[in-house]
C-alpha cells in the first residue's frame, strides 16, 4: 500500500493512522499495530464477512456503530474503536457462538498451539460454556484428497478453503453444502479435491479442521524451531522451514508481496519428506568390491573416507589435464545448488582446472544469452493491472505453480490480458484473451506476425497453424494495450522440438522492443520460466559455456577475473549436448555430475548412455544416487535444502537467502565446500570458510552482483533483484525452416507435468502416488484419422522408435498435434524423439 500517493486519515483507538484509499479497516488497523481478531478475513482473498469476529465500533460521522472491519473501507475522518464495551461484548458473543458446536479437542488437534480460535478463546473467550445442548455431529476426519483431511466438527465455516479453491486456485472442488447450522464443507461424492495447491488450505485454515496427512500428529507447534528461507524452485517461493529434533517437519508459505503471496504447490510443500529420505547418501562412495573394500576396478560403490574420495577425484582430474589438457574435463548440472555452490564449482572448473565445458542445463532449457541478454521482467511487472502477458513457455500450472497463481490473479482480478503462444492449451487457457496454439516448431512465424511482420498465410489461411484472423486480432489487442507493460514468459514449451524455435520466436518478439518502449512506454520484457531449482543462479554464476560469474562472457570478463582466479579458459567450451557427444567420442576423461542425471533428463537418452559408457572417470555429488550417479567412480554426499545456508536466484533475478535448520546426514557437505576441498587437492586455496565468505567474493568479482551485500539481501523481505547484465542476446535473425507434415502424421509436443516420475516426486511418499499415467493426447477431430476410441491402446511410431500407449481425446491439443507428458520412465517419450530432427512426427497404428 505504500506506493499509494493519496492517503486517507483515520483514527484507531485514539491514534491517527494513515490508510490507503479503499483499504479495509482491519488491514489499516493491523498496519498501525492494532490487531482485530478475525477468522474469515484473509488479505489475499476477497472479504466475505462470514465470521463476524472482526466487528468493531466504526464512526463515520453518524455515531459509532458495530461493523465488520474486513468489509468496511477506510474513509476520511473515520473513527475506529476496537476496545469499546459494545465491541468487546459483540466479539465475545461471536466467539461464544463459534465455540457452541466446536469439539474443543485441542489436546489431540494438530493446530493446538497455533490455532487462532484457541488463541482468541484464551484471550477473550468466556469461561464456562452456557451451551448445554447436544453439539453438532459429523463423521470424524474425512480425506478430501490424498494429502488433506477434513474434520467438519472443528470447521467454523470461515469460507477460507472454499474461497481459496475457487478464487485463488480455480479448482472449486470443495464447496459449502447444505444450509444454516447444518452447513458443511465437502467435495462432490467420489470427486476428490484434486488440486495442485490443496496444501494451502491447511495453512490458511484458522482452526484444525484441515490437516495435512504428511504432518498429522508429527509434532506440536511448541516443539518446532523455524527459519525463514527460500524454496529452491525457479519462482524462489518464500517459506518458513520448521523442524523438530533435527528433522524437517513442515514448510509453510510466507506472504512475500513480490513472489508467492504465501502460497506453495503441494509438490513443494510436501517435498520435505525427501530431505529425510533413507536413500540419502551419508558418506563418500568409491568403486569397490562386493565385500566393501575400495578397488578402482570394483563393480560396487562402497563407502569410504572423504580424504580417500577427494584424493581419487583429484588424481583423476590431474591425470586428465596432464594427459589431454583441461578440455578433457567437463562439468554437468548444478542447477539445484545455491549461488555459492555454483560459484565455487564454476571457479574450480574454469579457474583451477581450466575447462569451459560446463553446463548446468541438460539441453532442456534455453541458451544463456536468451536469458541474460534480454530485458528481464519481474512477476509484479507481469501482473501490472491492464498489462499484457504472452505465454511462450510450458504450462505454468504444471511447471511454475505459484507463478500460475499470480498470473491467474492478475488475469481475473487485475484485467491482465493473457496471450497463449503455445503448442497446446495450458491451465490458463480458459482465462486467456487469445489462444494461439501453433503447430510444433512454428511459434516464430506467429510471433513475427504479432509484431507486425507481414507473414504470408499458409494454404488454409493460417500462420503456423493459427488462423490468420486470430493472429491479426491479437496483434491489434497488443497494440491497444501498448501503454501498459508487455511481458513474455519464455521457456521450452516442448522438449520434442529444437530450442532454436523458441529463441527465434523470442527474437521476433524482441525485434521491435525499442519501438514498443518509445515515448516512455514500459515496453516489452521477458520472464524466463526455466525448469530446475536455481538454474537462473547457475547462469549468473557462470555454470554455462562461454560465461563467467556476473552475467558476463568469457571474452569480456576473462581478463578482469583472471586477477582473482589466476586464469580462465582461453576459448568457449561446449554445452551439454557437446559435452556428452565429446564424452561418447572418448574425449572426456573426467565427467563431473553436480546432482545431474543425464540418463534421466537429457533429451537424447542413447547419447547420454554412450557418454557415461565412454567417459573416463565419473565424479558425482548428489543427495541420493540417481541412475547416472550410480555409474560414477567417486560420489560425494551433498548437503541439501535446509541443511546449508546460502542464497538463491529466482526467475526474476531476485536474490534471497536460504538458511540452515538441520544438520546434513552423515558426513554430507555443502557443494561449495566440496568444490573448495577439491580445489585444495589441486593446489588452489579458495579460502572459503562459510557461504557468507563465498558470497563476499561473488560481490567482488561478479560484475552484475558487485557490492550486493548479504546484509542488503537479509534486510528486505523480498530480497534484491539483480537487473544489470553485460551479456547480449545474439540470436541469428534467420528462422530455421520446419519440414512439412504429411496428412497421416501428428506432430509431437511434449512437456513436463506437475507430478511426474522424476526423482523428487518419487522420494516423497505422499506425492509418489499422484503421478498420472502417461497418455497420448489428441484433438477429438483427429480421432477419425486415428480410427480408435478415446482410451484405446495404440502403437505410436516415429522415425526413430515406437511404443504402445493409450490415446485420449483432448480438445486442448490442436488438430494435427499429439501431446505426451515428458519424464515418464515407464513410458519414456525420448524413445520417439529424433535428436537430429528439429521436430518429431508420429504415426498411430491401432493394435
Amino acid at each position: 500500500m505504500s506506493e499509494q500517493e493519496t492517503v486517507v486519515n483515520i483514527t484507531v483507538n485514539g491514534q491517527p493512522v494513515e490508510a490507503a484509499p479503499g483499504e479495509w479497516v482491519i488491514a489499516a488497523a493491523e498496519r498501525a499495530g492494532v490487531y482485530i481478531p478475525h477468522f474469515c478475513y484473509h488479505p489475499r482473498m476477497n472479504s466475505v464477512g462470514m465470521c463476524r469476529m472482526c466487528i468493531v465500533d466504526i464512526d463515520t460521522g453518524r455515531g459509532p456503530a458495530l461493523q465488520p472491519s474486513c468489509m468496511v473501507a477506510v474513509s476520511e475522518g473515520m473513527v475506529v474503536d476496537t476496545t469499546s464495551e459494545q465491541t468487546r461484548k459483540a466479539q465475545d458473543g461471536v466467539l461464544e457462538f463459534l465455540l457452541l458446536n466446536h469439539p474443543l479437542d485441542c489436546p489431540v488437534c494438530d493446530k493446538g498451539g497455533e490455532c487462532p480460535l484457541q488463541d482468541q478463546t484464551m484471550a477473550y473467550g468466556p469461561g464456562e460454556s452456557r451451551f448445554i445442548e447436544e453439539k453438532r455431529h459429523f463423521e470424524k476426519p474425512i480425506p478430501v484428497n490424498d494429502l488433506v483431511y477434513l474434520d467438519r466438527e472443528r470447521c467454523i465455516l470461515c469460507d477460507r478453503c472454499t474461497r481459496f479453491a475457487d478464487e485463488v486456485a480455480g479448482d472449486p472442488l470443495i464447496t459449502f453444502q447444505d444450509r444454516g447450522d447444518q452447513t458443511q464443507v465437502n467435495t462432490f461424492p467420489d470427486l476428490p479435491f484434486s488440486s495442485y495447491f490443496s496444501g494451502n488450505t491447511v495453512q490458511i485454515c484458522p482452526v484444525g479442521a484441515l490437516t495435512a496427512v504428511p504432518y498429522r500428529f508429527k509434532a506440536r507447534p511448541w516443539d518446532l524451531t523455524e527459519v525463514e528461507s527460500t524454496f529452491p524452485n525457479p519462482m524462489g517461493d518464500r517459506v518458513v522451514v520448521q523442524a523438530s529434533r533435527d528433522q524437517v517437519l513442515r514448510y509453510q508459505g510466507v506472504d512475500s508481496d513480490a513472489v508467492n503471496w504465501g502460497w506453495l504447490t503441494d509438490k513443494d510443500r510436501f517435498s520435505f519428506e525427501a530431505v529425510a529420505s533413507e536413500l540419502r547418501l551419508r558418506a563418500p562412495l568409491v568403486r569397490g568390491t562386493a565385500l566393501g573394500r575400495p578397488d578402482p576396478a570394483g563393480s560396487e560403490l562402497v563407502e569410504t573416507s572423504w580424504g580417500q574420495a577427494l584424493r581419487q577425484a583429484a588424481d583423476a582430474i590431474r591425470a586428465a589435464v596432464a594427459d589431454k589438457g583441461p578440455q578433457s574435463v567437463a562439468v554437468l548440472g548444478g542447477a539445484r545448488l545455491t549461488n555459492e555452490d555454483q560459484y565455487a564449482w564454476a571457479r574450480l572448473a574454469k579457474g583451477v582446472i581450466g575447462t569451459d565445458h560446463v553446463d548446468a542445463q541438460l539441453d532442456d532449457g534455453l541458451p544463456a544469452d536468451a536469458v541474460l541478454g534480454l530485458p528481464r521482467a519481474t512477476v509484479n511487472r507481469a501482473c501490472t493491472p491492464g498489462g499484457t502477458v504472452i505465454l511462450l513457455a510450458p504450462d505454468p500450472k504444471e511447471e511454475q505453480g505459484t507463478l500460475y497463481l499470480r498470473l491467474r490473479d492478475a488475469i481475473v482480478n487485475r484485467g491482465v490480458q493473457l496471450i497463449e503462444l503455445t503448442p497446446r492449451a495450458s491451465g490458463l487457457s480458459h482465462l486467456a484473451a487469445f489462444r494461439l496454439h501453433h503447430r510444433p516448431g512454428e511459434a516464430a512465424a506467429v510471433a513475427a506476425a504479432l509484431m507486425g511482420g507481414d507473414i504470408e498465410p499458409g494454404p488454409d489461411g493460417d500462420i503456423g497453424g493459427v488462423p490468420a484472423d486470430d493472429v491479426a486480432a491479437t496483434a491489434a489487442a497488443i497494440a491497444n494495450r501498448a501503454d501498459k507493460p508487455i511481458t513474455v514468459i519464455v521457456g521450452r514449451p516442448s522438449l520434442a522440438e529444437s530450442a532454436d524455435f523458441t529463441v527465434e520466436a523470442v527474437a521476433e518478439l524482441n525485434r521491435f522492443a525499442n519501438l514498443l518502449s518509445a515515448g516512455g512506454r514500459p515496453g516489452i520484457a521477458f520472464l524466463p520460466a526455466l525448469h530446475r531449482g536455481n538454474v537462473l543462479g547457475a547462469l549468473d554464476m557462470g555454470l554455462a559455456p562461454g560465461l563467467l560469474p556476473g552475467r558476463i562472457t568469457l571474452a569480456d570478463g576473462g581478463p578482469a577475473l583472471a586477477e582473482t582466479w589466476g586464469s580462465v579458459p582461453s576459448a568457449p567450451g561446449a554445452d551439454a549436448r557437446g559435452i556428452l557427444q565429446a564424452a561418447a567420442d572418448g574425449q572426456i576423461d573426467v565427467l563431473i555430475l553436480l546432482g545431474a542425471d543425464p540418463l534421466g533428463d537429457f533429451p537424447h537418452r542413447e547419447l547420454a548412455e554412450a557418454a557415461l559408457e565412454n567417459a573416463g572417470t565419473i565424479i558425482a555429488t548428489d543427495l541420493v544416487l540417481n541412475p547416472s550417479s550410480a555409474r560414477a567412480h567417486v560420489v560425494f554426499p551433498a548437503a541439501g535444502f535446509a541443511e546449508r545456508g546460502g542464497t538463491h536466484t529466482n526467475l526474476e533475478g531476485r536474490v534471497t537467502c536460504q538458511r540452515q535448520i538441520v544438520t546434513p546426514p552423515g558426513t554430507a557437505r555443502a557443494d561449495w565446500a566440496i568444490a573448495a576441498e577439491l580445489a585444495r587437492q589441486l593446489g588452489a586455496d579458495f579460502g572459503f570458510g562459510s557461504p557468507e565468505e563465498v558470497w563476499d567474493e561473488i560481490t567482488r568479482v561478479a560484475p552484475s552482483h558487485r557490492g550486493l551485500s548479504r546484509e542488503a539481501i537479509d534486510a528486505s523481505d523480498d530480497g534484491v533483484v539483480v537487473a544489470q547484465s553485460s551479456v547480449a542476446f545474439t540470436a541469428s535473425g534467420d528462422t530455421s525452416s520446419v519440414p512439412p507434415i504429411d496428412a497421416y502424421s501428428l506432430r509431437l509436443t511434449s512437456a513436463r507435468r506437475m507430478y511426474d516420475r522424476g526423482t523428487l516426486v518419487q522420494h516423497v511418499p505422499s506425492l509418489a502416488g499422484l503421478a498420472p499415467t502417461a497418455v497420448l493426447a489428441v484433438n477429438p477431430y483427429d480421432f477419425d484419422r486415428v480410427g480408435v476410441d478415446s482410451g484405446a491402446d495404440v502403437q505410436v511410431i516415429s522415425n526413430v522408435g515406437e511404443m504402445a500407449m493409450p490415446v485420449v481425446a483432448d480438445p486442448g491439443v490442436p488438430r494435427g498435434t499429439a501431446a505426451f507428458g515428458y519424464n515418464y520412465p515407464d513410458l519414456d517419450v525420448r524413445a520417439l524423439v529424433d535428436p537430429e530432427a528439429v521436430v518429431t512426427d508420429l504415426r498411430i497404428q491401432t493394435r
Binding site: G49, A65, G93, V94, F97, L98, R130, F176, G180, D181
Partner: protein
C-alpha cells in the same frame, strides 16, 4: 396528468380481477382494460413514466417499504445493461398476497414488468417465483406464452420497432432467505442463496451479473398499470400522506373471517381490518385479542393498545414494529405464546442461510433453548440467557434492530422473543419445572394454558 379522482373507500386497484372468472387469461385481462397502461406508457418518454411512479410515491410492498420511484433513480447513469428481477418468493410467515396476484392476475404483473423495463431501460426481466408455488408458475407460464404470441412481450412490444424485452420465468427451490434481494440475485445466478455484503446497499447499483438491477416485489409492480393509466397523482391522492394507494393485507390466525384484503393504505386502522365485518370480522368464537403480529414473522408483536394505529408505514415504525409484508397474524387469549414464540424462532433457525455466525449459531441456539423449556427442562437462568443471546445477535435489542449480521434475518428471530418475554414472562416461567406453584398463579391470571 389527469386530475386526481376522489377514491372510493372500497376501490380495488390490484385485486380487481380476483373475482373475474377468466381474469388470468389474456382475453379476460384485455376486456377488463388490460395492457392499457403499457399502451399509455409507450406513448410517453421513459423518463416521464418514471416521473409518474415518483409522483405516485409508491412504497415497495416487499417488506422494506422503500419508495419505488426513488430506488429506480439509483441506477448509475450510463451503465448497461440493466435488469429487472421480480421478487415473487413470498415466504414470510403470515404473508399471502403475491401468490394470489400471480395466480389470479398474471398479466397485470407482466404489464407492470414491461412498464418498469420501458421506464428504466431494463433490457431483460427475470420473474423469480417461489419454488413451492406450482400453480402460480403455470399461470405465469401460460400468461407469458399468450402475451408473447399476442406481441405484448418479446421482440417489438406492441409493434414498437425500438422496444423489445424478454421476460424469463424463473423459479426457486425452497429457501426463505432467497427473498432477500441480494440472495435472490445469487440464487438467480445459480448459486446458494446467500445474501451479499452491503455496501452496495441497493442492487440498483451492482446487482445481477454485477450490473444495475431493479428488484421489486410482485405487488409493487402490479400497481404500475393502474398508476400509468390513471396517473401518479390519482394514486397519491389515495391513502395517507406517505403511504399512498391501496395495500393488500392478509389477516390470519384467530379471526372470524380470515382473508386477503385490499384496503386504502395508511387510513385503515388495525381495528378496522381485524374487526370490521367487511374484513376479518373480529375474533373467532367471541374470544378476546391477546396479541398480533402486524407485518410478518420478523415484526415485533402488537397488542390491544395498538389497535387504533392506522396501517401506515411511519406510524407503525415509530410504534416499534413494521407493516413489513402486509401479514397480520392475530392471536386470541387461548394462545400459548411460548409455543407461538418457539414456532416463529424455529422458522428463522431453519431458514438461516448459515453465512453469519451470530445468525447461524444464535438462532438455532435460541430454538434449542425454547424447545427445552417447552419440554419442561427449562432452567431459571434460561430466560435471561435467551435475552442475552438475542442481545448478541442484535445488540441492544432495539427497533429497528441493530445487526451484527449481513442481513436482517438473524435479528428478526429476536422480535418474537423480546415481544413475548417482555409481555408474557409469566407464561415462560410457568414452563420452568422449579417454578410450578407460582406458575399456576401466573398463568391463570394471564389466562393462558386453559
Amino acid at each position: 396528468m389527469n386530475a386526481p379522482a376522489p377514491a372510493p373507500a372500497d376501490l380495488r386497484i390490484i385485486t380487481s380481477r380476483f373475482d373475474v372468472e377468466d381474469g388470468h387469461t389474456l382475453a379476460g385481462y384485455e376486456h377488463t382494460g388490460g395492457y392499457a397502461g403499457l399502451r399509455r406508457a409507450l406513448e410517453m418518454a421513459p423518463a416521464d413514466v418514471h416521473g409518474e411512479v415518483r409522483t405516485a410515491s409508491l412504497l415497495g410492498r416487499g417488506g422494506a417499504g422503500f419508495p419505488a420511484g426513488v430506488k429506480w433513480g439509483f441506477c448509475p447513469p450510463g451503465v448497461w445493461p440493466r435488469y429487472l428481477v421480480v421478487n415473487g418468493d413470498e415466504s414470510e410467515p403470515g404473508t399471502y398476497k403475491d401468490r394470489l396476484l400471480m395466480e389470479r392476475d398474471p398479466h397485470q404483473l407482466i404489464e407492470g414488468c414491461l412498464i418498469a423495463c420501458y421506464a428504466l431501460g431494463l433490457s431483460q426481466c427475470f420473474l423469480y417465483v417461489r419454488g413451492e408455488m406450482a400453480h402460480a408458475q403455470e399461470r405465469l407460464a401460460a400468461a407469458l406464452n399468450e402475451a408473447y404470441e399476442a406481441g405484448y412481450v418479446g421482440r417489438n412490444v406492441l409493434g414498437a420497432e425500438d422496444f423489445s424485452v424478454d421476460i424469463t420465468l424463473h423459479w426457486g427451490a425452497g429457501a426463505y432467505i432467497v427473498g432477500e434481494e441480494t440472495a435472490l440475485i445469487e440464487s438467480l445466478e445459480g448459486n446458494r442463496g446467500m445474501p451479499r455484503l452491503k455496501p452496495p446497499y441497493f442492487p440498483a447499483s451492482i446487482g445481477l451479473y454485477g450490473k444495475p438491477t431493479i428488484v421489486n416485489n410482485v405487488e409493487t409492480l402490479a400497481n404500475l398499470p393502474w398508476i400509468i393509466s390513471n396517473g401518479g397523482e390519482a394514486f397519491a391522492a389515495m391513502g395517507a400522506e406517505s403511504s399512498t394507494g391501496t395495500r393488500v393485507f392478509a389477516v390470519s390466525g384467530h379471526v372470524a373471517t380470515p382473508g386477503v384484503f385490499e384496503v386504502p393504505f395508511g387510513t385503515t386502522t388495525f381495528r378496522d381490518i381485524i374487526f370490521d365485518p367487511r374484513y376479518a370480522g373480529g375474533m373467532r368464537l367471541g374470544r378476546t385479542l391477546k396479541t398480533f403480529i402486524p407485518g410478518g414473522a420478523s415484526a415485533p408483536w402488537f397488542f390491544e393498545e395498538h389497535l387504533d394505529l392506522p396501517l401506515e408505514k411511519t406510524t407503525v415504525d415509530q410504534a416499534g414494529s413494521m407493516l413489513g409484508s402486509g401479514a397480520i397474524v392475530v392471536m386470541d387469549d387461548t394462545t400459548d405464546v411460548v409455543r407461538a414464540c418457539h414456532n416463529v424462532v424455529r422458522f428463522f433457525a431453519r431458514e438461516s442461510c448459515g453465512k453469519c455466525t451470530p445468525c447461524r449459531e444464535g438462532t438455532s441456539w435460541l430454538e434449542k433453548i425454547l424447545s427445552r423449556i417447552l419440554a419442561g427442562q427449562g432452567r431459571s437462568q434460561d430466560l435471561d440467557l435467551l435475552m442475552d443471546v438475542c442481545d448478541n445477535i442484535s445488540p441492544g435489542i432495539n427497533w429497528p434492530p441493530r445487526q451484527t449480521t449481513i442481513c436482517p434475518l438473524g435479528p428478526s428471530a429476536v422480535s418474537p422473543i423480546a415481544s413475548a418475554l417482555e409481555r408474557f414472562r409469566g407464561e415462560f416461567e410457568a414452563y420452568l419445572p422449579e417454578a410450578e406453584e407460582t406458575a399456576v398463579a401466573v398463568t391463570t391470571s394471564a389466562g393462558a394454558m386453559s
